[in-house]
Amino acid sequence: MKDLYLNQYLFVVVFLLVAVAFPLLPLAIAWLLAPHRPAATKNDTYECGLTSKGDAWVQFRVGYYIYALVYVIFAVETVFLYPWAVAFGGMPFGGFLAMMVFVLLLVEGLVYAWAKGALDWK
């Protein structure tokens, strides 16, 4: 009984292995196949095509965090909305209501942040 129960987690283990393999495999292939000719430009940190300047350990503007927070909230909302939308067909009215309340709460948060001027980049 217990074994059977733990067997359900086998799937997770497999998933974990695949997840680890997914990025490592291309890197390994590239390492095996690519020619090794290092140069100063090649060893430089790649940052969206721009040359990076200075140290990474600097203080950021606080406004950046607020932007990021608002962004994260809505990113998470999408994560919740997606499975909800998939299961929408077989859902009672309460399910719809619950999600509407959730979205409204998030909207309220956005409205509040907006009204407080959190989205103005000063």
Binding site: Y5, E108, V111, Y112
Partner: protein, 483 residues
């Protein structure tokens, strides 16, 4: 629709909190005090309304949520605490630089978490509601962001709180892993069906969950944060920590131990008893050398957690009822003390005990309120604290009839009471026997006066006519199958 009925109080308070936020964001009200009084008044109405609500035998949200007498008892307690704390916050608002409306709203959101805690019947909801409370407190504790003590309090609470939350969620995972459920009722069923001692992995998980709850109620060895945070946090937040957060911790502890974990009570009651004894001694001994009243009350709150843990460790109906009664009267007593402290610090700007000297002359009502609450905390009849302690000791002694080791716990409790007299009377001495350096009278606002009078009447009233509250607490404790 029944589900909506079940969570109506939570909805009401959330909506009101959101309204305060939005209205203030678009049309800031210049007089922040009025907003606080309004909010407190609204919560008081909700409190009155809650007495019209009836307990429901079913569970809601797939067995996660209960609206039994126990839940209602605690919801009323939290609403009472919230109303009083909002009153304090209104009084305190001039000292907050910005975001007064947010302060009120955060207090209300925190209370929503507590209201949920009252009804928890599942580890998932337990964790979510606990975090709702704790995270709001992180912000609230550091609300005076230009003051180092407040920031320090917030940081300490954040880091240690996160640590204990980590323990809790880890423990929940172990319990789920070994039993396959997070629901308290199902957990009890599964544990009942098992023979022999529970698996070590399960005990491990249980202890980790208890660690998280022990942090909330400030029991030894998870109490170290309490004095620092109590002292540093803004006073209304300290009051809410002492009354609301503590009661929430006990609500969870009782719910978890007396429903889900009741079948394995033999594997935790000794631990709780030992912790109770240690907590009693730590809190009461540590309070002796203190000279800051908020820090003193921090230690005192550790001590009182010890008293109530005595009742929890007794694992009988008397004990459960006694803990509930104690929390009820403790709310009035502590709120009374903090109301008085806020009024005094607003006038003197200091919360060191010497600044309370001659308070009896500077403001008779504040002096009396603080004096009475200290006496009630010390357990002096006829104030409510006496009867609360009386019941707790009775519960332990009843348990000791079958397990004589409990007499040791009762004896430690008695020693603790004696020790506590020393520092509580020290405050009383400052109020009435010492002369004030600055004898200007302190003006107390009307709503404050009202709150103080209500608390004092309750303290004395409960002390003399214990029946109504005893009845309510016994009814609430009946939801557990104890005897």
């Amino acid at each position: 629709m029944m589900s909506l009925y079940a969570i109506q109080l939570e909805c009401l308070i959330s909506i009101w909190g959101i309204l305060i936020l939005l209205v203030d964001a678009f049309k800031p009200i210049p007089n922040k005090r009025t907003v606080g009084y309004l909010a407190a008044g609204f919560v008081a109405v909700a409190l009155l309304y809650s007495f019209a609500m009836q307990p429901v035998p079913d569970t809601f949200f797939h067995g996660m949520f209960r609206l039994d007498p126990f839940a209602l008892y605690f919801k009323r307690l939290f609403l009472l605490a919230l109303a009083a704390v909002l009153l304090m916050a209104a009084e305190f608002s001039p000292r907050i630089e910005s975001g007064v409306a947010e302060f009120y709203a955060l207090l209300m959101f925190c209370a929503v978490g507590m209201l949920l805690i009252a009804s928890v019947n599942d580890f998932i909801l337990l964790f979510v509601s606990l975090e709702l409370v704790t995270i709001t407190f992180y912000v609230l504790a550091s609300y005076l962001r230009r003051q180092i003590p407040s920031l320090e309090a917030g940081t300490k609470y954040l880091i240690l709180g996160a640590l204990s939350s980590g323990f809790t969620v880890y423990g929940i995972a172990y319990i789920f892993g070994t039993t396959g459920t997070t629901n308290f009722d199902k957990l009890a069923e599964i544990l009942n069906s098992q023979t022999g001692p529970p698996a070590s992995a399960f005990i491990f998980g249980m202890l980790l969950v208890l660690t998280g709850l022990g942090f909330k109620i400030a029991s030894v060895p998870f109490q170290v944060w309490a004095p620092d945070v109590y002292q540093g946090a803004p006073t209304p937040v300290t009051a809410f920590l002492a009354v609301g957060s503590k009661a929430a911790g006990f609500a969870l502890l009782l719910r978890v131990l007396y429903t889900g974990l009741l079948p394995v009570s033999l594997s935790w009651n000794a631990l709780i008893a030992v912790l109770a004894g240690a907590t009693l001694l730590y809190g009461n001994l540590g309070a002796i050398p203190q000279h800051n009243i908020k820090r003193l009350l921090g230690y005192s709150s550790i001590g009182h957690a010890g008293y109530m843990l005595m009742g929890v460790a007794a694992v009988n109906a008397l004990g459960a009822g006694a803990v509930l009664f104690y929390l009820g009267q403790y709310a009035f007593t502590n709120l009374c003390a903090f109301l008085a402290i806020i009024a005094v610090t607003a006038a003197t700007g200091s919360d060191e005990i010497p600044s309370f000297s001659g308070l009896g002359k500077r403001s008779p009502i504040l002096g009396l309120a603080l004096f009475l609450s200290m006496m009630s905390l010390a357990g002096i009849p006829p104030l409510s604290g006496f009867f609360g302690k009386f019941q707790l000791f009775a519960a332990v002694v009843q348990r000791a009839q079958t397990d004589s080791k409990y007499y040791v716990l009762a004896a430690i409790g008695a020693v603790a009471v004696v020790i506590s007299l020393y520092f509580y009377l020290g405050v009383g001495r400052a109020i009435y026997l010492q002369e004030a350096e600055d004898a200007t009278p302190i003006v107390v606002s009307k709503p404050m006066r009202f709150g103080l009078v209500v608390c004092m009447v309750a303290m004395i009233g409960i002390g003399i006519f214990q029946r109504p509250l005893v009845h309510a607490s016994i009814m609430a404790a009946k939801v557990f199958s104890l005897h």
